[in-house]
C-alpha cells in the first residue's frame, strides 16, 4: 500500500502551441534548455517523496512514451510503484478514448486501487513550477479535507482565464467558477488536486453514470462535491507557476529562466529538475562567439552572437549569425550570417546562410503585426529567405535569389 500516489494528465494536444505540438503531446514539448514540460511535475513528485506516478497519455504519445521509458532519469524505476504510462485500453465491455480529465482517472480506477492509496494527487503536464506536494498533503490531512486544491493569487485582470475559487476565512472553498466573466475572488486553481481516494472514487463513479457530464474535474467533479457539501479547501501557493499552453506563455516562461528576479531556479541543488538527456560533449564557444544573458547546454557549438536566448543540446550557431530573444530547440543549425529574433525554433530546424527569422518590435511600423515566430520541427529555411514575425511555419521555406 502507498499513502499517496500521483496521476499526471498528459493526454492534452496543446492545440494552441500549433506547429510545436504537431507530432508530440504538450507535456513533451522541450523547455528550458534541457527539459521537457513534464519534467517539472515529475521532478516535483520525486522531490516530494512520491514514488508512484501514473501518466495518462492519449494525443500523439510516441515521443512521450519513449521519453519516460522506465522512469530511471527521475529515479522512478521502482520494484513497487514507479512510473507507469497509461494510455486508454480496450476492456471487456468495449473501449473508449479518455473523454475528459475525470474519465481518464475513472478508466484507471483499477490501477489506483492496486496501490490501495489513502490519497491521490492529480497533476497536469502543462505547467512550469516547483512545488513540495508533501507540504500540500500535510495541509490536506491537517484540514481533514476531502479535496485540497492548490491556488495562486492572480492579477484581477486575468481571472477570466482561470478556474476561480471563493473561500471563507478558514480557506474552505465556498464557490468554484470556471473562467468567470466577473470574478468574486482572484484565487486561481493551479490544476493540482489532492483527493482522499475513497471520496474521489465514489464521485468518479457517480459522474460516469451521469450521461450529460463532460467528465471533467473543474466542470463536473468539483462542483458536484461542493453541491453535496464536501470539505474542499484551498492550499495557497506562493512562488513561480506558469501555464505554458500558448506560444507567448511558452516563450515567456523560457525567458523567465534568464531573469534573475524571477523565482524559478533550475540550478538549485536541493530541488533538482531531472530530465532524460543525450550523451553529448561539453559545448564550445569559439573566439568569434559573443554570448551574454543566455542558457546553453551540451553539444552546442557557437561562433556567432547569442543574446537573451536559450540553446538546447546540439545547436550550432555559425559565424556572424545572431540569435536574440529566441528559443532554439535540440539539433537546430543556424548557418553563418542568419538572424533569429523573437522566435521559437522546434527540433532540427535548419536556417541557411543569411536567412532572417522574426523581427524586433522596435523595428515594426505596425506593432499589431508583431509577435513571436514559430518554425516547426525539421523545417529548412533557405539561404537569404525571410520569415516574418508572428509566422507559424511547418513547411520548408525556399531560397531567395
Amino acid at each position: 500500500m502507498k499513502e499517496c500516489i500521483a496521476m499526471l494528465l498528459a493526454g492534452g494536444q496543446g492545440s494552441r502551441l500549433y506547429a510545436l505540438t504537431q507530432k508530440l503531446a504538450k507535456p513533451a514539448v522541450p523547455f528550458g534548455g534541457k527539459y521537457r514540460i513534464i519534467d517539472f511535475p515529475l521532478s516535483n513528485c520525486v522531490n516530494s517523496g512520491i514514488d508512484t506516478v501514473g501518466i495518462l497519455t492519449q494525443y500523439q504519445p510516441l515521443v512521450l512514451n519513449e521519453y519516460i521509458g522506465n522512469g530511471q532519469p527521475w529515479d522512478l524505476d521502482r520494484l513497487h510503484g514507479g512510473v507507469h504510462v497509461l494510455p486508454p485500453y480496450k476492456k471487456a465491455s468495449g473501449s473508449d478514448w479518455y473523454k475528459g480529465t475525470a474519465n481518464a482517472i475513472y478508466q484507471n480506477i483499477n490501477f489506483i486501487d492496486s496501490y490501495d492509496p489513502e490519497y491521490v494527487l492529480i497533476l497536469s503536464g502543462d505547467h512550469i513550477y516547483k512545488m513540495d506536494y508533501a507540504k500540500m498533503l500535510e495541509f490536506h490531512k491537517a484540514q481533514q479535507a476531502d479535496c485540497t486544491i492548490a491556488v495562486l493569487e492572480v492579477p484581477w485582470a486575468d481571472t477570466s482565464r482561470f478556474g476561480i475559487m471563493t473561500t471563507d476565512a478558514d480557506g474552505v472553498i465556498t464557490r468554484f467558477e470556471e473562467k468567470p466573466k466577473k470574478a468574486e475572488s482572484n484565487l486561481a486553481s493551479m490544476g493540482i488536486y489532492i483527493f482522499s481516494w475513497k471520496k474521489l472514487r465514489a464521485y468518479l463513479e457517480q459522474d460516469e453514470e451521469d450521461k450529460k457530464s463532460t467528465n471533467d474535474f473543474g466542470k463536473n467533479i468539483i462542483p458536484a462535491m461542493l453541491d453535496s457539501a464536501q470539505r474542499l479547501v484551498a492550499y495557497p501557493f506562493e512562488g513561480y507557476w506558469k501555464d505554458v499552453g500558448t506560444i507567448d506563455s511558452l516563450w515567456e516562461a523560457n525567458m523567465d529562466l534568464l531573469n534573475p528576479s524571477v523565482p524559478l531556479d533550475v540550478w538549485d541543488e536541493s530541488w533538482k529538475i531531472y530530465a532524460r538527456t543525450p550523451a553529448q560533449p561539453p559545448h564550445h564557444l569559439s573566439s568569434l562567439a559573443h554570448v551574454e544573458n543566455a542558457m546553453i547546454t551540451e553539444g552546442c557549438e557557437v561562433d556567432g552572437e547569442v543574446d537573451f536566448s536559450i540553446l538546447f543540446s546540439n545547436v550550432h550557431v555559425g559565424a556572424g549569425a545572431v540569435v536574440r530573444d529566441s528559443i532554439v530547440m535540440p539539433g537546430c543549425v543556424i548557418e553563418d550570417g542568419a538572424q533569429i529574433n523573437y522566435a521559437i525554433l522546434a527540433e532540427n530546424v535548419t536556417v541557411k546562410k543569411g536567412a532572417i527569422i522574426g523581427a524586433r518590435p522596435e523595428h515594426m511600423e505596425d506593432i499589431e503585426k508583431w509577435g513571436v515566430c514559430v518554425v516547426g520541427e525539421g523545417v529548412t529555411v533557405g539561404p537569404g529567405a525571410k520569415v516574418g514575425p508572428k509566422a507559424m511555419i511547418s513547411q520548408d521555406v525556399k531560397e531567395v535569389l
Binding site: 528550458g32 534548455g33 534541457k34 530511471q72 532519469p73 534568464l258 534573475p260 533550475v266 540550478w267 533538482k272 529538475i273 531531472y274 530530465a275 538527456t277 543525450p278 550523451a279 553529448q280 560533449p281 561539453p282 559545448h283 564550445h284 564557444l285 569559439s286 573566439s287 562567439a289 554570448v291 551574454e292 544573458n293 543566455a294 542558457m295 546553453i296 547546454t297 551540451e298 553539444g299 557549438e301 536559450i310 540553446l311 546540439n314
Partner: protein
C-alpha cells in the same frame, strides 16, 4: 559489429604514479577529463559501442571515487543480468596488493574462466582516444595473432620515456621486439595499453606465468617469447592524448579548445557515456565575456573567461578574469579573482581578490577541496 564476442578487462590503477597530484585520492581511471568525463569513460564507451557486454574492472587502491563513478554500470548500458560491469577489489585470499597484470588477472581467474566470450580485451586508461574496438578485433581475428597490441606513432618526450612499451615490427605487422621504458628518442611505436587475445590464451598464460613467479605480462611474457607467441601491432591513427604527467594532462585538456579536436575525440555518432549529474544548462549572465571555452553543464558564468576547459557545476563570479585554466567540477571562483594557467581539482574555492598565476609550461595546481 553485432556480437563481438569479447569481454573487456580494465586496469584503473595502471600508471597512477605519473600524475600523483591527481591520483592522490583517485585512480588514473577516475581522473576527470574534458569537462564532464573520467578517463575510464572513453574505454568503457568504446567497448560498449563495439558490442562488448561483459567488462571486469580490477581495482587496486584509492578506488572509492571510481566505484562512485561507475555505480551499477547503468550509464554505459552495462547494468546487465548476463555479463555487465563487475568491479574486483583486491580479493580476500590474496590479501596483499597484486603486482603486474598477471598478478591482477590471477586474482580473477575464476571470473575469466567462467565467461562465455571467445576473446578478451585488456585496457589501461591513460590514453584518451576514440578507438574502434570492433575494427581492432576484426584485425586480430584476420591476422591469426595470439596477441594484438594497439599502438600509436609518437614523438618521444621526457615524460613518455619513463613509462612506455614500444614495438618494433616486421612489415607484416608482427612484433619483432618489445621494449619497456626504452630511452631512444625520435618517433616510436608506443603501446596504448590495449591488448587483444583469446580467452583461452590468456587463462593458459596466467596459469603458467604465475606458477613461475612471472607477473609482468608485456615485459616477462611477451617480450621474451616473441618467437613462439605471435604478437601483432594494430596502429591507431585517430585523435588521442597520452596522459604521462601533469603537463600532458593540462595540454590534453587544452587541445579540446580546438573544435576540430573536440569533434574528433567525441564524434556525434560515437557517444562517450559518463555518470549523469542532472545539471541545468550553463547560465551566462549579462556582462560576462567568454572566448574560446569548452564548458560542461551546471555552470554559472558572470566573469571574463578565455581559453578554459570548465567542468560541471563551476561558478565564476562577476569581474573575475580567468584565462588558460582547467577548472574541475564545482570549482567556485569568487568575484574579482584573477587566474592564469591554473588547474583546480574538484570542489575548490578561490576567494575574493586572489591572484593565482602559472605559466604555459608550469601550471599552478590547487588540491581537491581546498580553499585559496
Amino acid at each position: 559489429m553485432v556480437n563481438l564476442n569479447a569481454m573487456g578487462i580494465v586496469f584503473p590503477n595502471m600508471h597512477d604514479s605519473v600524475i600523483p597530484d591527481l591520483t592522490a585520492h583517485r585512480t588514473m581511471a577516475s581522473v576527470p577529463f574534458a569537462g564532464r568525463y573520467r578517463l575510464i569513460d572513453f574505454v568503457l564507451s568504446g567497448m560498449v559501442l563495439a558490442g562488448v557486454q561483459n567488462v571486469g574492472v580490477i581495482v587496486k587502491k584509492n578506488y572509492q571515487s571510481l566505484m562512485d563513478h561507475l555505480g551499477s554500470g547503468r550509464e554505459w548500458d552495462l547494468a546487465r543480468k548476463r555479463g555487465g560491469l563487475k568491479i574486483f577489489p583486491p580479493s580476500g585470499y590474496s590479501s596483499y596488493e597484486y603486482h603486474g597484470r598477471i598478478g591482477a588477472l590471477k586474482g580473477i581467474l575464476a571470473y575469466i574462466e567462467s565467461a562465455k566470450e571467445k576473446y578478451v580485451i585488456l585496457a589501461d586508461c591513460d590514453v584518451v582516444c576514440d578507438l574502434d574496438y570492433a575494427e581492432l578485433m576484426e584485425r586480430h581475428a584476420a591476422s591469426g595473432a595470439d596477441v594484438t597490441i594497439a599502438y600509436t606513432k609518437e614523438k618521444m618526450t621526457p615524460a613518455l620515456m619513463n613509462n612506455n612499451v614500444s614495438l618494433a615490427m616486421a612489415p607484416s605487422g608482427r612484433v619483432r621486439e618489445l621494449m619497456i621504458n626504452d630511452e631512444q628518442t625520435g618517433r616510436r611505436n608506443l603501446s596504448m595499453g590495449v591488448l587483444v587475445m583469446s580467452r583461452e590464451f590468456l587463462t593458459e598464460t596466467i596459469r603458467s606465468a604465475y606458477s613461475r613467479g612471472l607477473v609482468k605480462f608485456e615485459q616477462e611474457i611477451l617480450a621474451k617469447n616473441l618467437d613462439t607467441i605471435k604478437v601483432y601491432g594494430y596502429e591507431y591513427t585517430g585523435y588521442r592524448s597520452r596522459i604521462a604527467d601533469m603537463a600532458s594532462y593540462f595540454d590534453a585538456n587544452m587541445q579540446l579548445l580546438y573544435r576540430e579536436n573536440l569533434n574528433r575525440l567525441l564524434p556525434e555518432d560515437r557517444p562517450v557515456y559518463t555518470k549523469v549529474r542532472d545539471e541545468a544548462p550553463v547560465r551566462y549572465t549579462v556582462g560576462c565575456k567568454v572566448k574560446n571555452c569548452t564548458v560542461a553543464d551546471g555552470c554559472i558564468i558572470e566573469g571574463e573567461v578565455e581559453n578554459c576547459v570548465i567542468f560541471r557545476g563551476v561558478t565564476i563570479g562577476k569581474g573575475a578574469v580567468v584565462k588558460n585554466c582547467v577548472l574541475m567540477q564545482n570549482t567556485a571562483v569568487a568575484p574579482g579573482v584573477r587566474m592564469d594557467y591554473v588547474i583546480t581539482d574538484k570542489d575548490v574555492t578561490i576567494t575574493e581578490g586572489q591572484y593565482l598565476g602559472g605559466t604555459r609550461s608550469f601550471q599552478v595546481f590547487v588540491k581537491k577541496g581546498s580553499t585559496v
